[in-house]
Symmetry: C2
Amino acid sequence: MRKVPYRIYLSEEQIPKQWYNIKADMKAQHEPLLNPGTGKPLEEKDLYPIFCETLAHQEMNAADRYMDIPEEIQEYYKIYRPSPLIRAYNLEKALDTPARIYYKFEGNNTSGSHKLNSAVAQAYYAKEQGLTALTTETGAGQWGTALSMACAYFGLDLTVYMVKTSFNQKPYRKSVMQTFGANIIPSPSDTTEAGRAILEKFPETGGSLGCAISEAVETAVKTQGCRYVLGSVLDQVLLHQSVIGLESKTAMEMIDEYPDIVIGCAGGGSNLGGLMSAFMQDKLTGKANPYFIAVEPASCPTLTRGRYAYDFCDTGRITPLAKMYTLGCEFQPSPNHAGGLRYHGMSPTLSKLYHDGYLDEARAVEQTRVFEAAALFARQESILPAPESAHAIRAAVDEALKCKEAGQAKTILFGLTGTGYFDMTAYASFHDGVMNDSIPTDADLEKGFASLPKVPGQEE
Amino acid sequence: MRKVPYRIYLSEEQIPKQWYNIKADMKAQHEPLLNPGTGKPLEEKDLYPIFCETLAHQEMNAADRYMDIPEEIQEYYKIYRPSPLIRAYNLEKALDTPARIYYKFEGNNTSGSHKLNSAVAQAYYAKEQGLTALTTETGAGQWGTALSMACAYFGLDLTVYMVKTSFNQKPYRKSVMQTFGANIIPSPSDTTEAGRAILEKFPETGGSLGCAISEAVETAVKTQGCRYVLGSVLDQVLLHQSVIGLESKTAMEMIDEYPDIVIGCAGGGSNLGGLMSAFMQDKLTGKANPYFIAVEPASCPTLTRGRYAYDFCDTGRITPLAKMYTLGCEFQPSPNHAGGLRYHGMSPTLSKLYHDGYLDEARAVEQTRVFEAAALFARQESILPAPESAHAIRAAVDEALKCKEAGQAKTILFGLTGTGYFDMTAYASFHDGVMNDSIPTDADLEKGFASLPKVPGQEE
């Protein structure tokens, strides 16, 4: 008789009622956000023109270890959570590894990813403040879809700036967001000053998350009753995404397991930050010592080849400055299909944890090897993974193969952030053998670093 | 405190270990399949050139009430089952109805539908018999995807004839099936005699399930080590799909519920047959009296406007004859977006139950009203339904509104068979207001009925 089932579901009562704030357990905080004009640290109220007030408060709050999840958000979570923790028996068998592989599957909702966890929270707080509209950017389209769903639910207008490359690669993403009532604009666009400026400088660009952020922020601050929301990078997002890690830890406790290795793909950091949250708490407080791996695309190697420096969060240089690993706000990633990982920067909290050695390893992987892992996983586990998620699969497979070589039965946990139903253009190019790895040269990186802003005390 | 959670999941141990064979409890069986050449009833071994032997046996077996699910199939079921039974709290609230609405959601697997339940079984038995290849047809693409996954898992070659309309409307469905290694051919094609004949007669046709079946059967019988498999209509498929109803009944028992009304969309009958199985047993044996509703598209009104007669299962007139509700094997449905419901016939078992009054009601609904219900459901329940499934949603909403008017707190159960990620062309045409209802005229129907074969004793 098998001890551990394929799928471990918590009960509705076991869905977390509080988020966990990792900053409360960090011995040192990341450097503060800076006003790009004055170079001075921002205070909570400085964020009010961009973010709604509760979210601005969450962004700055390092004091409260746990924060109550409002009743309305808990109700929405119950529609699609808990997400299953799945034992990858078939993948283990195919790899012939002694490792035990688990994945937390966040793709079983219509947005197709974990992004809904934060979208619901951000839409709720906007509604609570009496706002009527939101703007945002989306890369792969998962965040845009998630926010469309949340805005439809809470009755808010939504404008989504979608990275042009993804807009063209994923026409049906647009239709899904429209089904939930959102207005979709390919970015860069001529609807904003930031968009027009970027189009003038790089007329052929397929866009980037950084650029789409500029446009969404500009539109938000210029529109009455409107604020901007972001699906990754920010501390508030990591807070909301902590439900992933909290649920994972509870589920693993139920089967007497604890991960030796925790693996997540990392674009802006929302998934990895959420998945590792409860386990990182154990590491920060000395209770356990899991090994954390952040996996990023070789085409956009923020942690592995970037600099730890103050930078703009957007390409148009209108956001606050954040201290983070970055490739430079004007770095133009090649049109890698993992649209959700094409961001020049990285969550300041994850960056700090990586810089200080708590996030143990960052690993850049080539796109073709990622899709090899995705196809293997799909056939074995019968789930079609999103290209972003497949970065984590690649690393999990490689770790499991190391276990095989060493004869070690490690417990591996990775985040399967989403499904790839809208990524079939990418899968088709992989099947047709026309996919390339698009690894930037050192010269490409230098060009990006040259765009780093001058900040007093900035590391070189 | 809420008594019933949003999502009710059975444990892995509660997944059925036996299928339920509804025929064992039917007082009268449907008429036997006939050899179209001789008009004589077929025996089990007559089916061996088309179906593998165990499936042929299951097709004919009315004696065994329960049949063991082989270990290998049980293992695969554990990868994606149990599927949740969901209480539609938000939909109920939006409708302001006293009805309690539940839906069994079969779309949380990569095939996007319940079709996987039978695909796994059929691929397993083919493998067990030492076959190396299978052929099939697919309409919406859900069955083709499901079978691609199952064939990838068991190492079988697969050729899928995909209804041309769906092939053009859903290019990414093809890529998904290719990811799982299948060969996809738009039907009608010039690869078969049946296809060439239909193309000559109707050069502009978008194809139909009936036509794709002809091509798949022809290729199967002409290829060494190859058999044909079908995702609906057949008794063997209803047997495999009984897991839906068995799980639903167990889940409802856990929350002290029993449906007053059971609603399923009906194309070939696989979903409704599966969903109602365990509840129909109660009706057949006098233990309970739930009210069953089959919902079909007004554009392909098999039960509501068809004839109960012997007909070919395919357009090319090469399959056995089945006694069923049918629009005539040459009925050409208009390109309705619910590709999975565009079939001229209906499961002989469901037809018999409808004819004898056990399946209480058949209801034809217009496409635009179906998408209205789909959009309402998506925004309230945060699941993007397949157009096929949305037929059941439409009827469930209408029943819930009747309850509101009458002040009755009925318990409604419907089957949410799948997700609509690959149906965005249809959603877009709905949003753009260019969708039409394509209801056939009486003259259209007469043209279809004229194609009914001459069979001794055939009702007029």
